[in-house]
Point group: C2
Chain length 199, copies 2
């Protein structure tokens, strides 16, 4: 029904996550009717990113340099390595201003249902990164989802024989959270993992 160039565009837009046939059609019409400049910019930006963006050789996040700025910074504590699932999670950690160490971005999580095991996740690369002789503590900041937990367990088991200290970010009632609105699983964990009060 649509001209073939338009059909090809609609089909191509469907490679974006969360975009089905209806949204893809809406997007294609919108670009051609209302934002041809934006469309041109989009095409250019995709092409530019494809050629310029790679993975930092140390932390595995997206970078334009071989070693990203953060990994190259001398002001970072290189004895601490925080393992996160995605660049977004890394940004979240950075926004706390509570961490001065380095990162390793898994770019995923162990998820057998999606065919992602330790090999697909590239955990050997993580291991060789950790065994650089400088890292003393690995902080696991994967999500507290089933897959994030599985990933943390796997990494813990992998590092146990290596004599590296492995920790996991705490789990409990959110700051500012009211018990009334916290799910019972979180509350049960917060109870089990209660700490002695200072003073």
């Amino acid at each position: 029904m649509n001209p073939s160039g338009l059909e090809a565009l609609i089909e191509a837009l469907r490679c974006l996550p969360g975009v089905g046939p209806k949204s893809a059609q809406r997007m294609a019409y919108y670009l051609l009717q209302h934002d041809r400049k934006g469309a041109q910019r989009l095409s250019d930006a995709v092409l530019h990113a494809l050629t310029s963006i790679r993975h930092c050789r140390r932390c595995n996040t997206f970078a334009e340099e071989e070693i990203c700025e953060r990994c190259a910074s001398p002001r970072r504590d290189s004895s601490l390595l925080c393992v996160v699932e995605t660049p977004v999670d890394m940004n979240m950690m950075e926004q706390t201003h509570a961490y001065q160490g380095l990162y390793y971005v898994l770019m995923g999580r162990i998820s057998p249902l999606d065919g992602v095991g330790s090999r697909e996740l590239g955990l050997e690369q993580l291991l060789s990164r950790i065994l650089d002789g400088v890292v003393r503590e690995v902080i696991l900041a994967t999500n507290y989802t089933n897959e994030g937990e599985a990933t943390a367990h796997y990494i813990t088991a992998m590092l146990k024989p290596k004599g590296i200290s492995v920790t996991r970010i705490a789990r409990g009632v959110p700051v500012g959270g009211e018990l009334e609105y916290v799910d019972s699983g979180t509350l049960a964990q917060a109870l089990r993992e209660r700490r002695a009060c200072a003073g």
Copy 2:
């Protein structure tokens, strides 16, 4: 925080309708991490569409030719012209297999709040299309929304002095619809616009 090429990609993806900063970031990460081929195809498809897709000179829909296939077809009844808001609406009409005339696609609707008046909608082009000496009836198939109604009223007023017959698609209870689940506005209209039963 992200490398500049990645930021540019995220920013460019936001030109897509319904894509905010979070989705744009998710899309960019996904393309770079999991679907570089798809990203390449997307870039190419946008570029190709930008150069190959224009508007049919007769019906104003997206087309690769100057006059689209439908407008050029000798099997269509060129005395009937159905006015719709978008190419999607035209496709919906076609799927009924109940219409053999031609179309005019407004590519929008009158919407003063969005700064779209009769001029922005290019209604002069519609008028000159209608006054080709062949069209005898204009069927208004704009949506039954406020803006679609306003558009229909405007076109009706514009055509009145020209002696062209103007009709509007019927409004009422949907086929297969149960009164219990039809909104009262629709039901009230269906009552006001009741027809004499045949036989």
